[in-house]
């Protein structure tokens, strides 16, 4: 695969990475990209457990209606 272009600013750098990774997904097997992706998502979900919001707090942070 070609090298990842750094980008002239944060927005462009982020989009360059999105394109780079999406190409990796497209040209490799589900098993190959999926292994890395699963480790990433699982760690994000594990991290979410470190912020145990109550439903009330979570919905109020989002500005959503609740009656709990």
């Amino acid at each position: 695969m070609e090298k990842l272009n750094p980008g002239r600013n944060n927005e462009e750098a982020r989009m360059n990475f999105v394109k780079y990774w999406a190409k990796f997904v497209r040209i490799n097997t589900d098993q190959k990209w999926g292994k890395q992706h699963t480790a990433f998502i699982n760690s994000m979900m594990q991290n979410a457990n470190n912020y145990p919001f109550s439903p009330k707090t979570y919905l109020e942070l989002k500005g959503e209606k609740h009656t709990r």
Binding site: M15, W21, A22, I41, M45, A48, F53, P55, Y58
Partner: protein, 194 residues
């Protein structure tokens, strides 16, 4: 991943904990109502590397009796509703076109955000959906072109533009650009955006 027919994608990736939770939720949901998954999770399912706190669902309209059965089944299987406790309250949110969120009991994140599809454009997700066959079950998702158009021309935040780019690049050889233009026009007509 590969299309095995016009409407079905076979996905052989190892599932992550979010995928497993979505499949658990869907196996209960689909017993009571037709659904389609929309928005960010569609990108994540196909490899987008970002976190998310929710998974968005459109469901067809159901009555209180059906919602009660669904909600009882969800509770029996370890879910709770973040917005309200009683069947009537949960139903009243949906009936007022307000999304309700279900999560594993004791947690708020990640959650399944469920809403009645009422606008004409939203109801159409039930005609042009795709089926994704994962290694542990089947999911119904919005069409890729619809996903790209809504992310790019309706939502439009940097995160949404990246989600759209990811899907477009991954399915480069399958995306119908004319369909994206078609949805762009529909979005403009219904929401006055783009």
């Amino acid at each position: 991943m590969k299309f095995i027919d016009e409407r079905t994608i076979k996905l052989d990736k190892p599932l992550n904990v979010l995928d497993q939770l979505v499949l658990k939720f869907v196996k209960i949901l689909e017993k009571y109502v037709d659904y389609v998954i929309i928005s960010g999770y569609v990108s994540l399912l196909f490899g987008r590397t970002r976190g998310t706190e929710d998974v968005d669902f459109f469901i067809k309209e159901i009555d209180l009796e059906t919602l009660t059965k669904l909600y009882q089944d969800l509770k029996k299987n370890g879910f709770w509703c973040l917005n309200a406790e009683s069947n009537e309250e949960v139903y009243s949110y949906l009936d007022e076109s307000i999304a309700v969120r279900f999560a594993e009991k004791g947690k708020a994140i990640p959650n399944m955000e469920v809403k009645f599809a009422r606008k004409r454009l939203n109801q159409d997700v039930f005609t042009d959906y795709l089926i994704v066959e994962t290694v542990e079950g089947v999911l119904k998702i919005s069409s890729l072109e619809r996903q790209i158009a809504f992310k790019r021309f309706f939502l439009g935040s940097p995160k949404d533009l990246e989600d759209a780019q990811h899907v477009e690049e991954v399915f480069k050889d399958r995306i119908n650009q004319e369909k994206i233009k078609y949805y762009k026009e529909l979005i403009k007509k219904e929401y006055g955006k783009t």
